[in-house]
Amino acid sequence: MPAVKKHRIVDSITLDSIMSSLSDSKRIDGRGLLDYRDIEIETNILKDKTNGSAKVKIGDTEVWAGVKVETANPFPDTPAEGVMTCNAEMLPICSQYIEPGPPDEDTIELSRVSDRGIRESGMIDVSELCIKEGELVYSVYIDVAVINEDGNLFDAVAYAGTAALLGADMSKFTIEDDEVKMLEERQKLPIKSLPISTTFAKIGDKIIIDPNADEQEIASARLTLVTDENGKYVSAQKGKPGGFTFDELKELSTISKDKGEEIRNKIKEAVENGA
């Protein structure tokens, strides 16, 4: 049975101050209910060992992502498809509440939701990750490290992972006389879209976007919605032991699309700057 994680302690002064701000439709740090904190994105920060990398800060939350593209045998049931894996890790440097050890259920959820956000959006065309059918494919690893935790890891990990992928490159191969040969030139990854994650939290009857660590801790429910460039919903995940009404879900889905568009542009810009 997965471990029930030790919870962040929110003192009563902070709690009161969050609640009284919210009753005025304000946030403890002065934001409006639907304002993100400052988002900083920098790519290509680990040039020497990765194929692509990015650092993302959302307020005091900081994550680093590295992409490694290796070659592997394809899975028997998908001989013409490459492999893509996204994995998030809570480093013990990121918070006094994280102990080193195998990933707990929160981290596994974070990894799997990040992975699905990229996978289900069709961001990467895995059929273009095939080098030689049945024999050799690209295997793309996206590893994301949480360096400092101040809430909304779902979005931070997603932005870092997608920014690192957008900026990444990989070897080029050719097949001569049935033999695979690596070429000198390199190529970008087969990126088809840029999915954007937005995350909400519900405290009492108020819904906020981009919760910080304290807000997230006291929230009854969390919702992550991922949209693509065409305004389609590609992935979603509710978290925490509470719920949303039908009307709330419908409203949040509209907000998610608009906020997503803004952030998508930020990521594109950062990747261009980092190239």
Partner: protein, 239 residues
């Protein structure tokens, strides 16, 4: 909503569920239990508790803690599954616990644990929703105080059309799957996931369809519980 444009492979209407049957009280040693058959899914849920908390430091002074494990038997899948808990099973255990917990009046059971064990004996599409229906029925069967039952069902998109309860065959060409769980009498959605590709209109439409499905499941859960109660009373009268 049930008028079809394209016929579904199974011949079902867009708002029609696969065959579902629920039976409460199937495991003698458990405090509460249920067996659900949902399409080809065969799933047992058992509840133990309120009971002592192990390890002690997990005890909470003003309410019960809820543990939940979703586990697939090696023979439940197309190719044999390795016996150890996969990351997928760990995530599903978590989302099911978080879907069911809001229904439990935990403050009635301070310093105790309530354990929910879900065993997938035969798997099919929608096993997490089926499991939630079974778990919720088992909780009620165990006599745990609840605000409402938790009923679950997925909507999705297949062959370009938004439908209720996507099955395995539809899933192969399926464009989206959106499992939800809700407390039907409280208009509260406690599980919500989506994988696929839905426009805003389809998103809203799928939500409505899933609501219809959950209400159907709610009635089946109530029937299972009253049938068990009726049979038990019956038994007692005969004594």
């Amino acid at each position: 909503m049930s008028e079809n444009n394209i016929e579904r492979i199974s011949g079902r209407a867009t708002d029609e569920l696969r065959n579902v049957s629920i039976k409460a009280g199937v495991i003698k040693n458990a405090d509460g239990s249920a067996l659900i058959e949902f399409g080809k899914n065969k799933i047992m849920a058992a509840v133990f508790g309120p009971k002592e908390v192990h390890p002690k430091h997990m005890m909470v002074s003003d309410r019960a803690i809820i543990k939940c494990r979703y586990h697939m038997m090696p023979f439940s899948t197309d190719t044999r599954k390795r016996p150890n808990l996969s990351r997928r099973e760990i995530e599903i255990s978590k989302v099911i616990r978080e879907a069911v917990q809001p229904a439990i009046i935990m403050e009635n059971y301070p310093r105790t644990a309530i354990e929910i064990y879900i065993e997938i004996l035969q798997s099919d599409g929608g096993s997490r929703c089926a499991a939630i229906n079974a778990a919720s029925t088992a909780l009620a069967d165990a006599g745990i105080n609840m605000r409402d039952l938790v009923s679950a069902c997925a909507a999705g998109k297949a062959n370009g059309q938004v439908v209720l309860d996507v099955d395995d065959q539809e899933d192969k060409t399926g464009e989206a799957d959106m499992p939800i769980a809700m407390l039907p009498n409280m208009d509260l959605i406690t599980l919500f996931q989506l994988d696929g590709n839905l426009s805003k209109e389809e998103f809203d439409q799928a939500l409505e369809l899933a609501k219809i499905g959950c209400n159907k499941l709610y009635n089946l859960q109530k029937d299972a519980l009253s049938e068990k109660y009726f049979n038990e009373n019956n038994g007692k009268e005969e004594e």
